[in-house]
C-alpha cells in the first residue's frame, strides 16, 4: 500500500506491506535510533513522535503513519545533544539502548508540561523501561535539565 508521510521533516512516499510495523519501516529508512526491546508494548524503547505525540512504533502498522508527521531522535539531534548531556553528566545513559525511546518521551512530556513535578515525571515515563540505571539518575538528569531550562528562560544560565 502506498503511503505518504513526513519523516524528520522530509516527505516520504513508500510502498508499505499491510503487516509492516512502523518500527521496521523506520529502521529500513535509516532511523537506527528506534530500538525494539520487546514485542509486547511494554518497554518504550521504540517510542517515536507522531504529530508530536509519543507512539510505540512496535505496535503500530506503518500504514497508519499515512498523512502524519513522524519524528525520531535522528530528527532532533540538537535537542538530543542538549538534553543528553545532562543524562551523560549523571552517567545515567549507561548502555544507551533505551536512551532514544526514553529521550523521545521526555520531549513529548515537555511538549505537554513545562515544569513537571517529580511525581508527574515518574508517571509520564513509567512506560520507558531501563534495566541499567535504576531510574534515579534519569530523574536527576531531567530535574537538572528543567532547572537549566528555567534559568535559560529567565536569562540566568550561561551553560
Amino acid at each position: 500500500m502506498e503511503i505518504k508521510f513526513i519523516l524528520n521533516g522530509k516527505k516520504m512516499q513508500v510502498d508499505a506491506a499491510p503487516d509492516l510495523l512502523l518500527l521496521d519501516l523506520l529502521r529500513e529508512k535509516g532511523c537506527y535510533s528506534v530500538k525494539r526491546g520487546c514485542e509486547t508494548a511494554n518497554c518504550g524503547l521504540c517510542t517515536v513522535l507522531m504529530d508530536k505525540k509519543p507512539v510505540l512504533s512496535c505496535s503500530m502498522l506503518a500504514v497508519r503513519a499515512d498523512g502524519h508527521e513522524i519524528v525520531t531522535l535522528e530528527g532532533m539531534q540538537r535537542e538530543a545533544e542538549e538534553f543528553g548531556s545532562f543524562l551523560a553528566d549523571q552517567g545515567a545513559e549507561q548502555c544507551g539502548f533505551c536512551n532514544p525511546g526514553f529521550i523521545m518521551n521526555v520531549f513529548a512530556m515537555l511538549e505537554e508540561m513545562k515544569e513537571p513535578t517529580e511525581e508527574e515525571i515518574g508517571e509520564y515515563l513509567a512506560g520507558n523501561l531501563c534495566r541499567c540505571s535504576g531510574f534515579m539518575g534519569q530523574t536527576r538528569s531531567i530535574l537538572a535539565f528543567l532547572k537549566y531550562k528555567k534559568e535559560q528562560r529567565e536569562g540566568g544560565s550561561d551553560r
Binding site: Y32, S33, K35, G37, C38, E39, T40, N42, C43, L45, T72, L73, E74, Q77, A80, E81, F83, G84, S85, L87, A88, D89, Q90, G91, A92, E93, Q94, C95, G96, F97, C98, N99, P100, I103, G122, E123, L125, A126, G127, N128, L129, C130, R131, C132, S133, G134, F135, M136, G137, Q138, T139
Partner: protein
C-alpha cells in the same frame, strides 16, 4: 589534573544519547541472511525424523540445518577460561531435545517472512520422553538427561552425567554438628530463588560474515569476545585461528552475554553458505531459551550463643542448571563462599552442594552469580536469628561482621581481609536511613504498615588466579595515546574508567586517551567483562602498560635531549633537562617514534591476581505493606558500598542504583513459572514484570571506601555486589511489616496475603516485642 575518583562523562556518552547506530543490529549488512531456530515444543524428546525438503522450497531460503549437519564434538557455551569448569554437554543441534525451546533446526533465508514460513513447514516427528521438571527429584532420577557417551567434564567438579549431576562438593572447617548442638539459639530454614532473567534491553544478537582471508568474522553483543573465538573454533570444527570476534556497543549484559547464546547459529550458517547472516533473538526467545540465574534452594542452619556471637553456619545448596551445565559448577560455589565469609566469629562451617540437570531452560551467569542466592538465604537466616535472640539485626551484625585485618572464613578468594569498610558502611547506612527510629515497624495513619530490613553483602573482584586483564597502550605522533582493551564495555563504562586510570598514570588529559575495544585480532587478550573483574584486573593491566610506556617515552625524550635520563624530568607533557636548558614535547617524542626508531612506543601488558578482594556493602529497605491485600510498596532503599576507591563516582552510583532496582525486581516482581509439561510461562515482558520507575521507591546511595592495596588506585569491584542485598533486606522488611516470612522469591502480594490470613493469631503474638 587527576581523573581517578572524578565523575567524568563516559567516552561514548554523546553517541549513545543521540541515538547513533552503534549496536550489532544497526551495523549488520542489509543483505544478511536472517537466521532463526525451530524450537522444541517438548521438555524432553527424541527427534525420530525431521523433514526439511518442502521448507527448502520456500523462495528465498538459503539453508536449513538439522542434527545431521553439525560437528559431533560436544562443547560448552559458557564463556569461561579454558579448560572450562562447565561440562561439554552441547552440540549445535542435537537429536535429543532437553527443554521447551531447545534448538531442533536452524533456518536461514533472505527475508524474515520466508524464514517464518519455512519454520512452519519443517516436519519433525518427536518421540516424547518423560521429562525431569522437579529439581528436587533430578539427582539419580531414572530419566537421564545427558546419557551420551561423549559428555565430558574437563574439571574435577564432582559431576556425573549418569546421575543428572553437574557438580557436587563438600567443604568446611570444624565440627558443625557439635557446635550447633552447643549453641543457645539455632535457626534452620529453607530458601528458594527462581531462574530470573537478566532482561537487558538489547536481546541476544550476532551477525557473521567471511572476510577476504576466508576467516569467519563475528560481530556480537558479547561480554566474552575471546572466549567466543575459542569456543566457536571448537564448536564449528574450524579452529580459533579461523575466527575473529568484534564487540560493538552492547545494550546491557548483566552476565547474560557471558554465555554464547546467539553466536553459533549465524556462525554455522555463514560457514555453510559463505554468506553473511544474522540472528536477533526476540524477547520471547530471550525469555525461554537463554542464560538466566540458577534456580537454587538453600537449607541454612545458623547457631549463636545468647550474647549473639554467631558460632556455626551450615549451608546446603541445591542448584538447578537446567538442560545444560553452563556456569553450573561455578555459580553454586559463590552461594556459600560469599555468604559464610561475611561473618568472622564462626567456629565451624560446612558448605555442601549439588548442581543438577533438569528439563528446563539452561541457566547461565547473572550478576551476583550465586552470591545473590546465598546471601538471600544466609542474611535472611541471620535476620531471623536476631529476632530469636531479641536483638536488633544491625547490632547482631556489628558483633559478627568481617573486619579489615582479620581472616576470611570459607572464602575462596584469599585468606586475609585486606580491605574492608563494612563497619563504616553499616554505621553510615544506619545514619542515612534513621534505622533506630524506623526499626522494626511504623503503623501509618492509613492503616498500612511500614517495615524495615537490613542485609550485608560481599562479592569478589575477578576470579583469583584465573582471570586475565589485558591492555595495550601506544603513543601516537600527535602526542595522543591509544588505549586498546580486551575488556568489554557493556554500558557500565569500563572504557571510560580504564581511560581515567590511564590518564592519571600517564599524567595526561583524559581527552588525550583514545580508547578502543574489542576486536580479537588486534585487542590484547582479556578474559572478558565478568566476575566483577574489569576495574580491578584490567585496571591493573592498564596501569602496568602505562607505567612501562612512560619509561620508554622518557628514555626516548632523554635521548633526543642527548643527556642521560637521570638528568631529565618527565611531567607527562614534556621531557626536560633538569638544568632547564632544553625540553622536548610529547608530540615531538611521538613524531620521533615514527622515523629511524628501534624502540616501539607501544606496550602490552597482562595482569592477574592471586586474591579476589571483596567489595562490601550494607542495604537497608523500607516497605509499606497493605495488610488487607498483601501488596508491598517500596518506600526507601539505602545502600552504602565499599568498592575501594570509586574510580568514577557517577558510574559507581548509577551501577549501585541499577543493581538495587534489579534486586528489587527479583525480590518483589520477577517470577518464573512452568506449566506442567515444562513450558516457561513468563515469556514476555508482559508476564515477566521488571520494575518500572514507579516500582522502586527511592534509592539512596553512598560510599564508604577502604583502600585495596593490591590495586594501584585502591579500587575493588562494584558491578555485581549491588544486586545482593535487596532480597534479604526486603524480605525482612516485609516480615517486620506484616509478620510474614516469605522464603521464596519473589514476595508477591498473594504470598503475603496468604501468610497474613494463615498466621493472623500467631502474628498478633509476635507483634508484642
Amino acid at each position: 589534573m587527576s581523573y581517578v575518583n572524578k565523575p567524568v562523562r563516559k567516552k561514548d556518552a554523546m553517541a549513545l544519547v543521540t541515538g547513533q547506530p552503534v549496536y550489532t543490529d544497526d551495523l549488520a549488512p542489509k543483505d544478511c541472511l536472517v537466521v532463526k531456530v525451530l524450537r522444541s515444543p517438548h521438555a524432553h524428546a527424541w527427534i525420530e525424523e525431521i523433514r526439511t525438503e518442502n521448507a527448502m522450497k520456500v523462495p528465498g531460503i538459503a539453508c536449513i540445518l538439522t542434527y545431521e549437519d553439525v560437528p559431533q564434538d560436544r562443547f560448552t557455551m559458557a564463556g569461561q577460561t579454558y579448560p572450562e569448569f562447565s561440562p561439554y554437554d552441547r552440540l549445535i543441534l542435537d537429536r535429543r531435545m532437553r527443554f521447551v525451546g531447545d534448538a531442533a533446526a536452524i533456518v536461514a533465508g533472505e527475508t524474515e517472512k520466508a524464514v517464518d514460513r519455512a519454520l512452519k513447514i519443517i516436519k519433525v516427528k518427536y518421540k516424547v520422553l518423560e521429562p525431569v521438571l522437579d529439581f528436587h527429584k533430578a539427582k539419580d532420577n531414572a530419566v537421564c538427561i545427558h546419557p551420551e557417551d561423549n559428555w565430558e567434564s574437563r574439571f574435577p567438579v564432582g559431576a556425573d552425567n549418569k546421575r543428572n549431576l553437574c557438580a557436587h562438593a563438600e567443604e568446611g572447617d570444624g565440627d558443625v554438628e557439635k557446635i550447633l548442638a552447643d549453641c543457645d539459639c539455632v535457626v534452620e530454614r529453607t530458601y528458594h530463588t527462581k531462574a530470573n532473567q537478566q532482561a537487558m534491553m538489547e536481546t541476544f544478537r550476532s551477525y557473521t560474515y567471511m572476510d577476504h582471508f576466508g576467516r569467519l568474522n563475528i560481530v556480537s553483543s558479547t561480554q566474552v569476545p575471546f572466549h567466543v573465538r575459542r569456543i566457536l573454533g571448537r564448536a564449528l570444527g574450524i579452529g580459533a585461528s579461523k575466527v575473529r570476534v568484534i564487540k560493538p556497543r552492547i545494550g546491557g549484559g548483566f552476565g547474560a552475554k557471558q554465555t554464547l547464546v546467539s553466536e553459533v547459529y549465524p556462525a554455522i550458517v555463514t560457514v555453510k553458505t559463505g554468506k553473511p547472516a544474522k540472528m536477533i533473538f526476540s524477547r520471547y526467545e530471550s525469555q525461554i531459551c537463554s542464560s538466566p540465574r540458577h534456580e537454587m534452594e538453600l537449607k541454612v542452619r545458623i547457631g549463636a550463643d545468647r550474647e549473639g556471637t554467631i558460632r556455626a553456619i551450615d549451608v546446603y545448596t541445591l542448584s538447578n542448571t537446567g538442560a545444560f551445565g553452563e556456569h553450573g559448577p561455578t555459580t553454586v560455589g559463590l552461594s556459600g563462599h560469599k555468604s559464610i565469609a561475611l561473618y568472622r566469629n564462626t567456629e565451624a562451617y560446612r558448605f555442601v552442594y549439588d548442581v543438577v540437570y533438569t528439563n528446563q531452560m539452561s541457566a547461565g551467569a547473572y550478576r551476583g552469580y550465586g552470591a545473590t542466592q546465598g546471601i538471600f538465604a544466609v542474611e535472611s537466616a541471620v535476620n531471623e536469628l536476631a529476632e530469636k535472640l531479641h536483638m536488633d539485626p544491625v547490632v547482631l551484625r556489628e558483633k559478627n561482621m568481617t573486619k579489615e585485618g582479620g581472616r576470611f572464613i570459607g572464602y575462596d578468594g584469599g585468606t586475609e581481609v585486606t580491605s574492608c569498610a563494612l563497619d563504616r558502611c553499616m554505621a553510615r547506612a544506619k545514619e542515612m536511613f534513621h534505622w533506630d527510629e524506623k526499626f522494626p515497624r511504623r503503623v501509618m495513619e492509613n492503616g498500612k504498615v511500614r517495615g524495615v530490613g537490613v542485609a550485608m553483602a560481599m562479592q569478589g573482584s575477578s576470579i583469583a588466579g584465573v582471570d586475565v586483564g589485558g591492555a595495550s597502550v601506544k603513543l601516537n605522533e600527535d602526542g595522543s595515546y591509544t588505549l586498546s582493551l580486551g575488556a568489554t564495555d557493556m554500558g557500565t563504562g569500563c572504557d571510560t574508567v580504564l581511560s581515567q586510570m590511564a590518564a592519571d598514570t600517564l599524567m595526561t588529559d583524559y581527552d588525550n586517551i583514545v580508547v578502543f575495544g574489542v576486536d580479537t585480532d588486534i585487542s590484547p587478550y582479556d578474559s572478558g567483562s565478568y566476575a566483577s573483574a574489569t576495574t580491578y584486573i584490567a585496571g591493573k593491566a592498564v596501569v602496568k602498560a602505562c607505567e612501562s610506556l612512560k619509561e620508554r617515552i622518557w628514555d626516548l625524550g632523554a635521548g633526543m635531549l642527548e643527556v642521560p635520563r637521570e638528568e631529565t624530568d618527565f611531567d607527562g607533557s614534556r621531557v626536560s633537562r633538569k638544568d632547564g636548558s632544553g625540553a622536548v614535547s610529547l608530540e615531538e617524542i611521538g613524531i620521533r617514534g615514527t622515523f629511524g626508531n628501534n624502540d616501539s612506543l607501544q606496550v602490552t601488558e597482562n595482569a592477574s591476581s592471586p586474591i579476589s578482594p571483596p567489595p562490601f556493602m550494607v542495604g537497608m529497605a523500607e516497605v509499606e505493606v497493605d495488610r488487607e491485600t498483601g501488596s508491598v510498596e517500596m518506600i526507601d532503599y539505602v545502600a552504602v558500598v565499599d568498592c575501594g576507591t570509586p574510580i568514577n563516582p557517577n558510574l559507581a552510583r548509577v551501577q549501585t542504583e541499577g543493581g538495587i532496582a534489579q534486586g528489587i525486581g527479583m525480590a518483589l516482581f520477577e517470577d518464573i513459572q512452568y506449566s506442567e509439561r515444562g513450558q516457561m510461562l513468563n515469556n514476555s515482558l508482559m508476564q515477566y514484570k521488571i520494575p518500572t520507575r514507579l516500582d522502586v521507591g527511592k534509592i539512596r546511595v553512598d560510599f564508604e571506601s577502604s583502600f585495596e592495596g593490591s590495586h594501584p588506585f585502591g579500587a575493588k569491584s562494584i558491578g555485581e555486589i549491588v544486586i545482593d542485598t535487596p532480597c534479604p533486606a526486603i524480605a525482612a522488611a516485609v516480615y517486620n511489616a506484616a509478620g510474614v516470612r516469605v522464603s521464596e522469591m519473589p514476595i508477591t502480594p498473594e504470598k503475603v496475603a496468604m501468610g497474613i490470613a494463615g498466621i493472623e493469631c500467631e502474628n498478633c503474638k509476635k507483634d508484642e516485642f
